[in-house]
């Protein structure tokens, strides 16, 4: 589904990604872990097309399409979803209106018909119930005045509604208490399916107790330095990133 080869990227002239190779197949859940400044969020932002990230080498293909040439909205329509580390508050834009506009914009790009307001509302109610979110979330402005937990749950709710092929969760677990973390994890687990893949960017192993990954990769110094199964995350938790640094001095500048 997603094939990243030798990806190099710069932010503000500074090289952050220094040759990422990663293949993600449909149905798989990959966790990307690593110390602060390793380039985890940069990877998510490059994949979703945020401005200010300059790809200097390498390729990213998504279901056979060169992802890097697409505008962010086209990537979304192709099935890429980024759950933001810091979801943006948008005063004055009603959440329901935003979601319907987004869904119909994606459908239009895919050559599908718009959902009318009745069809949309039915879908929304369904997803809200599954995600166990309160109705009033719909009537508020996008993320405005939401608590940290509500913002993250709103991200997962959007994901449920937009049904992406590839979901990138950028530190979705950060800033959550244990109850909120469980709710978010439950939402993600509900969306796991044979035709959907997840890239979970996280700093801690905690989320992986609830959303068990198929693969764990350690990103350090702009490269994936180790890959393994979920036991790699457990070892990291035990020994910290210091152990990685000892094994990969070049990547960590040690």
């Amino acid at each position: 589904m997603l094939k990243i080869e030798n990806l190099h990227a710069r932010v503000a002239g500074k090289e952050i990604l220094k040759g990422i190779d990663l293949t993600v197949n449909a149905g798989e859940v990959h966790a990307i872990m690593g110390p602060n400044g390793a380039g985890k969020s940069t990877l998510g932002n490059v994949l979703s097309g945020r401005d200010g990230y300059e790809v200097t080498a390498g390729t990213v293909t998504f279901n056979g399409v060169d992802l890097l040439t697409l505008e962010p909205e086209a990537r979304a329509a192709a099935g890429v979803f980024l759950a933001f580390q810091y979801p943006v508050e948008i005063p004055g834009v009603n959440n329901t209106y935003f979601l319907r506009t987004a869904l119909n914009a994606q459908r239009k790009q895919r050559g599908e018909k718009d959902l009318d307001s009745m069809q949309f509302l039915k879908l929304v109610r369904e997803k809200l119930k599954v995600m166990q979110l309160p109705d009033d979330l719909l009537h508020r402005a996008v993320n405005e005045g939401f608590s940290g937990g509500e913002k993250k749950r709103n991200e997962i709710f959007q994901m449920a509604l937009l049904e992406p092929r590839l979901a990138i969760l950028d530190e979705t677990d950060s800033g959550l208490d244990i109850d909120a973390l469980k709710q978010v994890a439950a939402g993600v687990n509900l969306l796991r399916s044979a035709d959907r893949a997840f890239l979970m960017i996280t700093h801690y192993q905690r989320l992986l107790d609830y959303v068990v990954p198929d693969f764990v990769h350690v990103l350090a110094g702009g490269r994936i330095v180790e890959s393994g199964d979920k036991s790699l995350a457990l070892r990291l938790e035990e020994h910290g990133y210091a152990g990685i640094a000892a094994r990969h001095p070049a990547e960590l500048g040690a």
């Binding site: 945020r50 909205e73 980024l82 943006v88 506009t101």
Partner: protein, 433 residues
């Protein structure tokens, strides 16, 4: 204005014969204001209130007085039709009252609505105080020429205690004419004690014309009166110089929403006097200059009595080479203790060549006053833009969504829901692609 030089604008406006009313005091007031206009001419940018609106180009233009066809030319009612607004209506075309387009039969009891010419013929004395004014300020050029030349306009009175339940619509159409013309209207609006009125005022264009229109409105709210006033200016190509003066007496309340969308060079001076204890003014405005439009809003609020409240929020969005000017001056006079004044103006620049000049001013001479004011000029939030795009919304639509949300923030409390919805759509339609 240096002596001896009479720019074409001045000459052409002074060329127009004074309307003869046969009413001594009115003819005298017209003569005096005309002389004051001739003597002082146009303000230049050294006059503080005109600092950001230069009249050099306008001063070189000529306008014919009056339009012989305005009384009969065809006007499509779709120009001014509004959802949720069906009731009494007065329509003026190039300053000429059009009874055939107006709806003045079946006025509700207690509502007087008629052209100024008719009101003068019926009872001139009732208008004497308002219409004998002499405009003395150096910035008053257009008020002066209006006072000298306006022969018609709206007279609207609501009797004490009367609640007018259907909105009243005032429409000013700028219509194509063989030459560019100058037209002038003078409106007098009075709400009696404890009365209530919803008023919708529109400026629209029938074809792109480049007329000069001046309008002066005096609005008086007696004790306990309630006015809801929506003004939508969507004229095409016109130069419009308007002044709305609102006097609010004890416990009365005026709520005004003002949209500036059209025109080439437009200026609206809004003067609010809170003269009775507990009087309240709520003002909301949006101005959206694009192309080469120049839009100037001059808001002056004076708290002159105890416990008066003003709450004013304006938003500007300038794109292409559009230029916006906002001056918001709040004065709390000596003795107006317990006043509460809140004024903000937030602006968006959507292009490098757009410009907005904003100047909030606050002067306080009373005690126990709460006052806040602020102004900002910025660009669309890139984070928000990316957030929307990352969900599949195209860049253009995302920009429009954010811009319209920015404007709607000050229109959300417009009481007439259908009108609010419609105005929101007008905003969207007006946004640059």
């Amino acid at each position: 204005m240096s002596a001896g030089i009479s720019p074409p604008l001045l000459a052409s406006l002074l060329d127009a014969p004074l309307p003869a009313s046969g009413i001594g005091w009115l003819d005298a007031a017209r003569r005096d204001n005309r002389e004051a206009f001739a003597a002082a001419g146009l303000p230049d940018t050294r006059v503080e209130a005109w600092k950001y609106t230069a009249l050099r180009a306008l001063s070189q233009r000529r306008f014919a007085s009056g339009d012989a066809h305005a009384g009969a030319c065809a006007i499509d009612a779709a120009l001014y039709a509004l959802p949720g607004v069906i009731g009494p209506r007065m329509v003026f075309v190039n300053g000429v009252f059009r009874g055939d387009l107006s709806a003045l039969d079946q006025l509700p009891a207690g509502l007087q609505l008629q052209p100024l010419s008719g009101a003068l013929a019926a009872d001139a004395e009732a208008l004497r105080f308002t219409l004998s004014r002499h405009y003395r300020d150096p910035g008053d050029a257009f008020a002066r020429i209006n006072a000298a030349s306006a022969s018609d306009g709206v007279v609207l009175r609501v009797a004490a205690g009367v609640q007018v339940t259907t909105p009243v619509q005032l429409v000013f159409v700028g219509a194509l004419a063989p030459t560019d013309i100058a037209w002038h209207v003078r409106n007098v609006i009075e709400l009696g004690e404890g009365s209530a009125l919803e008023l919708v005022e529109q400026h629209v264009g029938n074809g792109t014309q480049a007329h000069l229109g001046t309008q002066v409105s005096d609005i008086e709210l007696r004790q306990g009166a309630q006015l809801r006033h929506v003004l939508v200016q969507n004229a095409t190509g016109a130069t419009l110089m308007r002044r709305s003066s609102v006097r609010i007496h004890q416990s009365a309340r005026a709520s005004m929403h003002m949209l500036e969308l059209g025109g080439a060079l437009v200026r609206h001076e809004v003067r609010v006097d809170l003269v009775g204890d507990g009087a309240r003014f709520d003002g909301r405005g949006v101005f959206m200059p694009h192309g080469r439009q120049h839009m100037d809003t001059q808001l002056a609020i004076r708290h002159q009595a105890l416990d008066t409240v003003s709450d004013a929020h304006w938003r500007g969005v300038a794109s292409e080479r559009g230029r916006g000017v906002f001056r918001g001056a709040v004065l709390v006079a000596p003795g107006a203790d317990g006043s509460d004044a809140n004024l903000t103006n937030k602006n968006l620049l959507l292009s490098d060549s757009a410009e907005i000049d904003t100047k909030p001013e606050l002067e306080i001479y009373a005690d126990e006053v709460q006052a806040a004011h602020g102004a900002t000029v910025g660009q669309l939030d890139e984070q928000a833009l990316f957030y929307l795009r990352s969900r599949g919304i195209g860049a253009g639509e995302a920009r429009a969504l954010l811009t319209s949300a920015f404007c709607r923030a000050v229109l959300g409390d417009m009481a007439n829901a259908q009108l609010r919805e419609h105005v929101g759509e007008m905003l969207l339609a007006h946004l640059p692609a």
